[in-house]
Symmetry: C2
Subunit: 339 residues, 2 copies
DNA sequence: TTATTGAATAAAAGCGCTTTTGGTGTGGTT
DNA sequence: AACCACACCAAAAGCGCTTTTATTCAATAA
């Protein structure tokens, strides 16, 4: 059932039916009611492709999957995407996930030029990310989950990574720790840069050093978390506390600590950043992990809204948000041994 | 830059340019070369909406996100989606992720009627899943990741869940275990039903019982894995081995075992099903976990191909695959204490 | 009365592509 | 010379909608 048939069935013109369905004013209440009733009865819904061609809008927000070769498949992505999709649906939009077969640049270019999407979401930005100027050049609205150092004014939603890790480090220092290890994500990622800065600043503020031996950086898997932590614990000046950039790293870190015959909390304190993903919960650990918390699901929701604003014409400069991060104190952080 | 402009620029008609770009035969090699060169030079790519309207195909495969209220956000989804997206891109298709705001049924209905997608992927099917007949009624091709008990002949890709868990149980029984606990997923899910059947059949084959107290079923998070395992270990006849339906449950199960002062492998054997997700690797555990393994990423890839076949007109009955599952022996499975 | 508005609807144009149909000029066949 | 393929290309229709422009008819104003 399409517009034409529906109109013919009602003895009305296509335009009248279209206007009635789309809530325009110049249709009598009477006809409108008839049209709506018929649409319901025939279970009519307008064809997506035709609608898009006519309006020039695709009704979709695009997101490009980190390339197939990259082993760093973000497990947080599911929760993020779930939020994104939910909020997008509320704005009558869909999420288009695209893979980068060749280069990431080519994917973005294709997406933009073909008009497959009205806006693009950038995830896991690097500190200096070439994608932002690229998309700007292509003239397609884009909102970054995170932040780049780009002087380019771009729409973004980020969490206060620096503040979160400064607070976490301050907490540990306040408990008496003097050697705090950092198990961070990939050093090129913007969030990792910020977190390191927070860690460093808190230590310096307290008159402590931030030695390279306690500054670990790698992908955020349990394996890498284990390796980095085990390395630090085996070093000449092992840490008495560890801060992990993800709950996955923390799982590995905890195993490294236990494997060394040490207890989490009493021997080595642990703080992890928790994005609130459902499959691994820090409060279910033994002992429950102290965390810096910010829901990546809610971030996804908000980003879809920002994208909708952008499509509606809002200026990117007016679409910049930094969310505070909660520090949730649990049992994995205690004063160091002998304090 | 659109077709019209490009054609005008070349002094050719739109149809000729279109045919040249789409590889039809009745265009001289000469003109084709000219057209392609111009397209490259002006960085032309055809408008997606127009293409879709003209061909009647959306060029997208749809997948509906498990509803927003459902806490069971599948963390495996990322890896699956990644495979799906990659393979889809190879077939020039995109993946459209849609949320179910109201009911799941309404979402599918909308997707199908609006022609937003050419095929739909169904994830996490229940043993009896109403979505299969629904989509069939809507006349939109659908491929199920997993299998339903539906008499409806539907396209699917499943792994041999029953065989995998039978083999795993047989391995444990062969080592001398007589009480094997099952930490399964949600009992309504098709895969959980099959895995339980495999476990049960292996035990019965060996003349052993499959008591309800050792048959745990819940969502596949570390927390639930911990709870189920702790419960079994605290019971009157605790298991000497545990089989987990996911690596996340296994993380929880391992913690429960350790918390009870027992060692994994020597005291309690553990086998986990591993979907090959990148963030948590069983071989990185201590001890490395024995697993039943099947890559969910590759399943995603294959499913996109099946969807493409279906769109191409292949019959659903000819699109049914069951993949064998590897049993990978590592150090978490040993003979029981005293054997 | 006659022009003037305004409401309600119809008609038609257009979005950018694909595809069908039609037309031209070449060369080979009878 | 007439015919027919054949290769190549142009013109035009059509996909299903939205939106602009026209039209009708009744009610009001001059």
């Amino acid at each position: 059932m399409n517009l034409k048939e529906l109109a013919h069935h009602l003895g009305l013109s296509q335009s009248t039916v279209s206007r009635a369905l789309n809530g325009y004013q110049d249709v009598s209440p009477d006809t409108r009611e008839r049209v709506l009733a018929a649409a319901r009865r025939f279970d009519y819904s307008p064809n997506a492709s035709a609608h898009r061609l006519a309006t020039g809008q695709s009704g979709a927000i695009g997101i490009v999957f980190p390339s197939g070769n990259d082993p760093l498949l973000d497990p947080l992505f599911t929760d993020f995407l779930s939020g994104l999709t939910n909020a997008a649906a509320r704005h009558q939009m869909d999420i288009l996930v695209s893979a980068s077969l060749d280069t990431a640049e080519a994917s973005y270019r294709r997406l933009a030029q073909r008009g497959s999407v009205d806006a693009i979401v950038l995830s896991s930005p690097l500190a200096e990310d070439p994608r932002v100027p690229l998309l700007d050049g292509l003239g397609i609205p884009c909102v970054v989950h995170g932040r780049t150092r780009s002087p380019h004014p771009h729409a973004f939603l980020d969490i206060d990574n620096e503040g979160a890790f400064r607070q976490a480090t301050e907490l540990l220092v306040g408990l008496g720790h003097r050697r705090v290890g950092l198990v961070n994500g990939d050093a090129r990622q913007a969030f990792a840069v910020d977190r390191e800065a927070g860690w460093r600043s808190a230590l310096q503020q307290a008159g402590l050093t931030a030695p390279d031996t306690l500054n670990g950086s790698d992908i955020m898997t349990d394996e890498a978390g284990y390796r980095l932590t085990a390395g630090m614990l085996a070093g000449a000046t092992p840490p008495t506390a560890i801060i992990c950039s993800s709950i996955f790293s923390a799982v590995g870190a905890c195993r490294a600590i236990r494997d060394r015959g040490l207890a989490i909390g009493s021997d080595i304190s642990v703080i992890a950043h928790d994005d609130g993903i459902t499959s691994i919960r820090p409060e279910a650990h033994h002992p429950p992990l102290t965390t810096t918390f910010s829901s990546i699901h809610r971030a996804g929701e908000r980003i879809a809204e920002i994208a909708a604003d952008l499509i509606g014409g809002k200026s990117p400069a007016d679409c910049q948000e930094v969310w505070p991060v909660d520090l949730i104190f649990r049992d994995s952080t205690r004063p160091p041994v002998g304090a």
